[in-house]
C-alpha cells in the first residue's frame, strides 16, 4: 500500500507529462488536415503516415538527424572522458571549482550561447578578425553555416550531459585498480582501454543517450548555425508544421522520431541490466 502511495506521484507525472502528450500527438498524426483553427479534423486517417513512407525526403531527414546526433554524442564522450577524469582526480576543493566551471555556461540562456557562437564564427567575427589582424588570412574563412559550426554548437550545448554521468562513475571507481594495472606495466592508454572504459561503460552509454536523444530532434542549432543543406528532422518538422501547415504530417513525423529513439533506449536498458 505504502509502495503504491509512494509511486502515485510518479505515475501521475508520467500520465500527465508523457502519456497524455503522446496520445495527443498520435491523435493529431491520425487526423485529417483542414484549414481552420486548429488546422485539422480528428479522424482515423493514415494520410500523415503514408506520406512519410511515400516520400524518401522524410526518411532522409530522420536518418541524417540520427547521424548528426550520434556524431555529437561521440564527440561529447571523446571530450567528456578527459574532462571527467581530470575533475574526478582533482583535489576535492578544486573539484567543486571545476564542476562549477563546467556548469556555469548553462546558467546563461541557450539562445544567448548560440548567439555567442555566431558572434565568434561570423565573417566579421572574433576568430576571423584575429586571424586577419595576425595576417594569417586575407579574406574571411567561411566558418558559420557549415557542418563544423553546427557540430561545435551542438557539442557545446550538450557536453555536460556526457561529462556528469562519467564523472559520477569515475568518482566511484576504485583508483587502486588503475594503479594496479599501471604497476603491472600497462601504459596509460592501455589502462584506459582495459580498466577505466569497461568499468564506466554503463555511464558512457547513459551519457551518450542523454546527448543523443535531445540532439536528434534539435532545431535551433542546425537552423541558426548549420548549412542550409542540413535538412534534419527538426527542421523538416518545422517546415511541415509552419510552412505547409500540415499538422498531421508533422505529428506523424514526431511519432516516427519517437519510435526510432526507443531502439537505443531499449539497447541501453540491456546494457544496464547486464551483471
Amino acid at each position: 500500500m505504502t509502495r503504491r502511495l509512494l509511486l502515485a506521484p510518479v505515475a501521475a507525472w508520467l500520465l500527465v507529462f508523457v502519456a497524455a502528450p503522446a496520445a495527443i500527438l498520435l491523435a493529431i498524426a491520425l487526423a485529417e488536415a483542414d484549414p481552420g483553427v486548429p488546422p485539422f479534423r480528428l479522424a482515423l486517417a493514415a494520410a500523415g503516415f503514408s506520406m512519410l513512407v511515400a516520400d524518401a525526403y522524410y526518411l532522409d531527414a530522420l536518418l541524417s538527424a540520427l547521424g548528426v546526433a550520434a556524431m555529437t554524442a561521440l564527440l561529447c564522450l571523446a571530450l567528456g572522458y578527459p574532462m571527467a577524469i581530470g575533475i574526478a582526480r582533482a583535489a576535492p576543493r578544486r573539484r567543486v571549482l571545476l564542476l562549477a566551471a563546467l556548469m556555469l555556461p548553462f546558467w546563461t540562456g541557450f539562445l544567448l550561447r548560440v548567439g555567442a557562437w555566431i558572434g565568434l564564427l561570423r565573417d566579421e567575427g572574433w576568430i576571423n578578425g584575429m586571424l586577419r589582424a595576425a595576417g594569417i588570412i586575407e579574406a574571411p574563412l567561411p566558418l558559420l553555416y557549415t557542418d563544423g559550426a553546427m557540430l561545435a554548437g551542438m557539442v557545446h550545448a550538450y557536453l555536460p550531459f556526457a561529462v556528469l554521468p562519467l564523472f559520477a562513475a569515475l568518482l566511484r571507481l576504485d583508483p587502486t585498480l588503475a594503479e594496479a594495472a599501471a604497476d603491472l606495466g600497462a601504459r596509460p592508454p592501455v589502462v584506459f582501454l582495459t580498466v577505466t572504459l569497461p568499468a564506466t561503460l554503463p555511464a558512457a552509454t547513459a551519457g551518450f543517450l542523454l546527448v543523443f536523444i535531445p540532439a536528434a530532434g534539435e532545431f535551433v542549432i542546425p537552423e541558426l548555425m548549420g548549412p542550409p543543406e542540413a535538412q534534419l528532422v527538426g527542421r523538416v518538422l518545422w517546415q511541415e508544421f509552419f510552412q505547409n501547415r500540415d499538422w498531421p504530417v508533422a505529428a506523424a513525423l514526431a511519432v516516427a522520431l519517437l519510435a526510432l529513439l526507443l531502439v537505443p533506449i531499449r539497447l541501453f536498458q540491456r546494457i544496464e541490466a547486464r551483471p
Binding site: G36, R122, E124, Y145, P227, P228, E229, Q243, N244, D246
Partner: protein
Amino acid sequence: MFRRLLPLLVLIAATLPAAAQERVLNVYNWSDYIDPYAVARFTRETGIRVRYDVYDSLETLEGKLSAGRSGYDIVVPTSEPTFARLLRAGALRPIDRAAIPNWRNLDATLMERVAGIDPGNRHGAVYLWGTVGLGIRVDRVRAALGPEVALDSLDILLRPENAQRLARCGIMVMDSPTDVLPSVLRWLGRDPNGHAAEDLRAAEQALMGIRRHVRTIIASSSILDALATGEACVALTYSGDVIQAQARAREANRGVEVGYVMPREGAQLWFDMLAIPADAPNPDAAHAFINFLLQPDVMAGITNHVRYPNAVPASRPLVDEAVRNDPNVFPPPEALARSFVAGTPPREAERERTRLWARFKRGR
C-alpha cells in the same frame, strides 16, 4: 506567523482591483516594425498598457494563430498568403469601423488592391507595404561585375555567371518560398503565381543554377543584420529591411554602403495588414490602437523609423524629406504599374513549393 503576513495580504488585496482594471493590449508584430515612441504615446494617451511581442517570419505568426487562443489583440499578417489564409480559416474578427474614425485616412486605391481577398475590407487595414528586391553592397557588386553593370534587375543574382563572381563576397536569400518564388517566376517571364509543374521546374532550375554560390538561406531578420554589417553583398529580401540596413550601416560608419534594387522585371508587392484575431481578449483596445495608428503624424513617425511606405496619404508631407523622396521607399508610379501581388496557391501546390524549397536549401 499570520499576524506578520496580515499587512502583506491587505496590501495585495488593495492592489487587486487596480490590477483588474488595468487595460492591456497584446500586440504581435514583425520585428523592427514600429516607432517605439508611438507605442509609448498610445499608452500615455489612452492609459492602455501595451505588451509588445515580435516575430520574424509569417510562418511563426500563422502557427501561433492556428493553434487558437494566442492571446494577441493585434497581429500584422501579410496580405498574401497569411492574411488571406487566416481569413479563410475564420481566425480574424471583423473590424467595427464605427470605433475607428481615422479609417477615412486610408488610401482608397491601396485598400482596393487588398479588397480582392477581403471583400469590403472588413477584416484589415493596410499598415505598411513594400516590395521584394535585392539588397546590395554597391561597391562590391561593381567590383565583381564591372563598373558598367546595370543595378536594376534580378540578373545580378539569378544569372549563374554573376552569382559565381559574387559568391566570394556573400550571397544570401531569405528563407521564404512564398516571397522568393514569385519573383523568380516573373524574372523567367512566367506567371508569378504559376504553380503548374513546368513553372515550378523552371523556377527550381533557376535557383539550382546559383545554389553553389549562395552562402546561406535564412530568416529575413538575419539578412538585415548581415547587410548592415557588410557580410552579405547581395541578398534577396524585403525592401524596407534593405533600407533599414542601409541606415544602420551609415550609423556604424564603417564604409559599408548598402543599396536597394527594385527589379525592373516587376517587383512583388505586399501589404502588411492590421488585423484582430477572432479570439482577441481585448478587441476594444485593439480598435483603439488601429485608430491611433491611422493618424497622419503617428504614421509619418513610423515610416521615418522603419522606412516602409504607409497607407495614409496625409502623412506624406510629415515624412522626412530624405525618406519621402527615396524612390526605394515610395516607388514611382511606373515601377508600381509593373509590380504584382502574389496569390495564395492551393494546398497541394504549396507542398510542392515547400518541397522544391527544401531541395534548393539542400542543394540537390
